[in-house]
């Protein structure tokens, strides 16, 4: 399933990139700089979705003691952290020509997204600090759940407080505030990045399960594929 997700994701991203860079009309205010939206919004969206996946999986693992759920949570963390890093960096690159600054301390959207990055780091550091897998799963799950409070804060930060960051483009009352030729590449990029994220996540879960089930018989077959053939 991983190759299918990856191929579908790549096709969508290829279309979105070409259409976004070359065929979508320039924004009347931001000119060609607005094209950064096609990488910034998918990265930001997945930085938050990645956290929701991580926290949900961690919660399921905590309540039902499901090992697979903990494996999913542990696998989502590094990916979510990378996408958060991307969201911050592409946002900064976009902010420089539009706002005249790379970074604005105290801006609610920027700060809450930075906190998201630190939550991912904290989650990974906590896991790495505890040798016993079961204890690491439980402790990190609690951290993931507590930190989930930050996700709606990020989303609504531009509405609750005044921010340099522009308001929502897609998820807003009254429908998307963006015209078709600009909108389709964006939706394709979001869908494509999501599929790639899913492929990366599943690949990591596979590795994680292998570690956790290292005493199981079937692992021998995975590690020595040539012997079972």
């Amino acid at each position: 399933m991983i190759p299918w997700l990856a191929v579908a994701g790549l096709v969508l991203v290829a279309y979105g990139t070409v259409a976004g860079l070359f065929f979508a009309p320039a924004d009347y205010q931001q000119k060609d700089a607005f094209r950064i939206i096609y990488v910034h919004v998918p990265a930001s969206y997945l930085s938050m979705l990645g956290y929701v996946v991580m926290a949900t999986a961690a919660g399921i693992g905590l309540i039902w003691r499901m090992k697979l759920a903990h494996a999913v949570a542990a696998s989502a963390a590094p990916l979510g952290a990378w996408f958060t890093f991307l969201a911050l960096m592409t946002g900064s690159i976009w902010g420089r020509p539009m706002w005249g600054t790379w970074w604005e301390w105290g801006d609610p959207r920027l700060t809450s997204e930075l906190i998201l990055l630190f939550l991912y780091f904290g989650y990974m550091a906590l896991r790495a600090a505890i040798d016993d897998t079961t204890r690491a799963d439980r402790a990190s799950a609690v951290l993931a759940l507590v930190g989930a409070v930050n996700v709606p804060i990020i989303h609504f930060s531009v509405e609750w407080w005044s921010s340099l960051h522009q308001g929502p483009t897609l998820v807003r009352a009254g429908g998307p505030a963006i015209a078709g030729p600009m909108l389709w590449p964006l939706l394709a990029m979001i869908a494509g990045f999501s599929l790639l994220f899913a492929a990366l996540l599943l690949a990591r879960v596979r590795t994680e399960v292998l570690i956790r089930e290292r005493r199981a018989r079937w692992v021998r077959k995975v590690v020595y594929p040539e012997e079972t053939a």
Binding site: T17, K31, A33, V39, T90, I93, P97, R214
Partner: protein, 54 residues
């Protein structure tokens, strides 16, 4: 050439895209490296197990 300049914003637009795809590739590479390392370690474990059982 006009496309490259991005209406004067080329210095921002292109690095943003390059960074994004660079990080995506990095994610792929990181996952693969980790998988290979884990498989190698598991093999090592199994080798030890085999040695003992003989």
């Amino acid at each position: 050439m006009e496309v490259l300049s991005m209406g004067g914003y080329g210095a921002y637009v292109w690095p943003a895209y390059a960074l994004t795809f660079g990080v995506l590739l990095l994610c792929v590479a990181q996952g693969r490296r980790r998988h290979r390392r884990v498989v190698r370690e598991l093999r090592a474990r199994l080798e030890i197990g085999r040695g003992e059982s003989k």
